[in-house]
């Protein structure tokens, strides 16, 4: 059949302009993956094994269309009764009977019981056409789901008739511009469906998978074919949540999220200083370290600080129960209970092995929706590595990080470092995080002390200094390490070193004191001596003056005598005058 848009083109976007219309499914993540949803006015095959979620896919497509997009729908169910279907999806908040009452949905369930049925001779499926036609007309349906038509092959036996009728049905639906989802059961021999109905549904094929690897169930979705449209080609994990299906594309979110320039303090003042003011609001911090290096305590400090600012915090613990955590953090002065009471802190403890990796992502999804935190702690992501293969764990953590980043939540992850490989973690998520704080134990003089390094901090001038990380009864604190000729000293060695230095300083000061007073004494002595000498000198001078005066007087007397004598002898007067002047 010739069709305008059934042309292979290198670029889906161009075709979209030509007119590949799409019908949004409303299924979380799916419309992003397909750039708009399912091909409108065409049929999409959704195939998968038992319990892979194909019926749910179809139902959500109908419910979201009817409820949110003003597109009523019809479900023809060949496997389950309307009541069964309604019960199955009521837990997701889909009220099928109510939608039927509102005239937005028709569910027509066919019971095809091979045990009470025989076929003889030729037949057609006009009964189905008539019922479908009625249903579509009664609500003005735009969407139709056939779940699972392949039952007819088993029940009615005559394969060639059913093939022909299926083909006719698809044409009939297309003529009415109905967007159709046909579900199919995965074939045993690797085929997409048991009866090869993918031959008739050629526009779009979605494959659902429920696989168990490493004893863990993971649901995956793949778009095997989407004629005339670009689409993601990977296998995407998806979840069945209490709000329907959620497809989680690994790559389509995360790197597009906006970047915040707001800084948030960590609650450890000196750490803020090391990070040039704190963490970026939407950044991801990895706190890695060996066992007992204080990862949880540091994360809890950040949580405590956020609560102190009146922000909401979600603390997911894969290691400790809430009660344990509250008690243990209380011992270092972090009174978290008051934040729990104030409704700011939500503690969520779960054993990593209690769920598959998918479930952990679902839970985080739900918790984020419920609590809308501004900071979230995942403690410890290493716990998750007990659940699955490292590649799967890494992907899970990456999804969690993406989810947090997309919401602008500050994420604090703790991770156990590999033995002996303190700068790599078991999950190799370090490239995904923005700030990486490493806590390390040093063992010296029979004691262990904690050191904190800022390994990296994107977009932040950060300190290259090693700090001693101390857990006191007033919370976490950073102390300067002692860097001296003996190397880096921490703990009591640092304290001993500092004490030594203090003692030496005291000794030096005392010595200086002593020398000071000796000098003072000597100064006093010298001054005394100076005074004595001065007095001596003054006395001498006095004597001298006395003597000179007498001498002058004597001279004057003598001169007078001489002058008298000269006058008496008639001598030359000049010599007498010179003598008097001298």
């Amino acid at each position: 059949m010739a069709d305008m848009t059934d042309v292979d083109a290198p670029n889906g976007a161009v075709l979209n302009k030509v007119g590949l219309r799409k019908a949004p499914t409303g299924i979380g993540g799916f419309d992003e993956l397909t750039f708009g949803g399912l091909p409108r006015g065409r049929a999409t095959l959704v195939t998968g094994g038992a319990g892979s979620g194909k019926t749910l896919f179809g139902l959500e497509f109908l419910v979201r269309g009817a409820r949110d997009l003003d597109e009523p729908g019809v479900l023809l169910s060949f496997e389950e009764s309307a009541a069964e279907l309604a019960t199955n999806v009521s837990s997701m908040g889909f009220d099928l009977p109510e939608l039927e009452r509102q005239g937005l949905l028709v569910i027509d369930a066919f019971r095809v019981d091979a045990a009470t049925l025989v076929t003889t001779g030729v037949f057609d499926l006009d009964g189905l056409f008539i019922r479908l036609g009625m249903a579509v007309e009664s609500v003005g349906a735009k969407r139709v789901v056939l779940d699972t038509m392949e039952v007819l092959f088993t029940a009615l036996g005559n394969e060639s008739i059913i093939r022909g009728e299926l083909n006719r049905l698809l044409r009939w639906l297309k003529d009415r511009d109905l967007t159709v989802v046909i579900t199919g059961e995965r074939g045993r021999a690797g085929g997409l469906t048991r009866y090869g109905i993918e031959e008739y549904v050629s526009d779009c094929v979605v494959v659902l998978d429920h696989r168990i690897s490493d004893e863990l169930a993971t649901r995956r979705l793949r778009i095997a074919k989407y004629r005339g449209s670009v689409h993601g080609t990977n296998e995407y994990p998806f979840l069945i949540t209490d709000r329907g299906l959620v497809v989680l594309p690994l790559t389509s979110i995360g790197l597009t999220s906006a970047a915040s320039t707001e800084r948030v303090p960590t609650g450890v003042a000196r750490l803020d200083h090391m990070l040039d003011g704190g963490l970026y609001r939407d950044s991801t911090v990895l706190v890695s370290g060996d066992a007992g290096t204080g990862k949880t305590s540091l994360a809890a400090s950040m949580a405590d600080a956020a609560c102190g600012r009146g922000e909401r915090v979600l603390f997911v613990s894969y290691a400790e129960s809430p009660a344990q955590l509250l008690r243990n953090m209380g011992s270092i002065g972090l009174k978290l209970q008051r934040w729990v009471d104030a409704g700011l802190l939500r503690l969520w403890a779960v054993r990593p092995t209690a769920y598959g990796l998918e479930e952990h992502v679902v839970q985080l999804h739900r918790l984020l929706d419920e609590n809308t935190p501004s900071l979230t702690v995942l403690d410890s992501t290493a716990g998750l590595s007990r659940v699955g293969m490292s590649s799967a764990v890494r992907a899970t953590v990456a999804r969690q990080i993406d989810m947090l980043k997309a919401r602008g939540v500050t994420a604090v992850l703790t991770a156990l470092t590999d033995d002996g490989q303190s700068e790599s973690t078991a999950m190799e998520v370090t490239s995904l995080v923005d700030t990486w704080l490493l806590l390390r134990n040093t063992e010296r003089n029979g004691e262990r002390n904690r050191l904190l390094y800022v390994i990296k901090s994107r977009g932040t001038a950060h300190s290259n200094q090693v700090r001693e990380f101390a857990l006191t009864d007033r919370g976490a604190e950073l102390l300067d390490v002692y860097v001296g000729p003996a190397g880096v000293l921490t703990g009591s060695a640092r304290m001993a070193q500092l004490a030594d230095e203090r003692a030496a300083a005291t000794a030096r000061a005392a010595h200086a004191d002593r020398r000071g007073s000796a000098l003072a004494r000597r100064t006093a002595q010298v001054e005394q001596q100076i005074t004595a000498l001065r007095e001596e000198l003054a006395a001498d001078r006095f004597d001298l003056d006395q003597y000179v005066e007498q001498d002058i007087a004597t001279d004057v007397g003598r001169d007078a005598d001489r002058a008298a004598m000269a006058a008496h002898r008639w001598a030359d007067p000049a010599a007498t005058i010179d003598r008097a002047k001298a």
């Binding site: 025989v118 003889t120 037949f123 009964g127 009615l156």
Partner: protein
């Protein structure tokens, strides 16, 4: 009912049959004719047939879970039995109506 289903109830049991068709297509006419012959041969005097044209009464399709046409439904005697097709194989129809044991298990 006997254990092997050889005779379905007493020989004077009433048969209530409904034949669903969609318009008077050749298939429909063939089915009606085949049914008439089988009834006359095997159920003479103790059957009632109601022919329902779904093009005229589409709503009735929902009641008996009709997917295919022609479909013959035996409403009496209980339990309900369904035979799909133009009834061209009389033996299969008799098996379907439980007037004859099955030669082979139904699919």
């Amino acid at each position: 009912m006997s254990q092997d289903g050889w005779i379905d109830g007493p020989a004077d049991e009433e048969f209530n049959l409904r034949l669903y068709v969609a318009g008077l297509s050749p298939k429909s006419i063939r089915a009606i004719e085949n049914l008439r012959q089988i009834c006359e041969t095997h159920l003479a005097g103790r059957y009632r047939v109601e022919v329902i044209d779904l093009l005229v009464n589409p709503k009735l399709a929902r009641g008996d879970e009709i997917i295919a046409v022609p479909t013959l439904v035996r409403t009496l005697p209980q339990p309900i039995r369904t035979i799909i097709g133009d009834l061209s194989d009389a033996d299969r129809v008799l098996v379907g109506l439980q007037l004859r044991p099955e030669a082979r298990p139904t699919q």
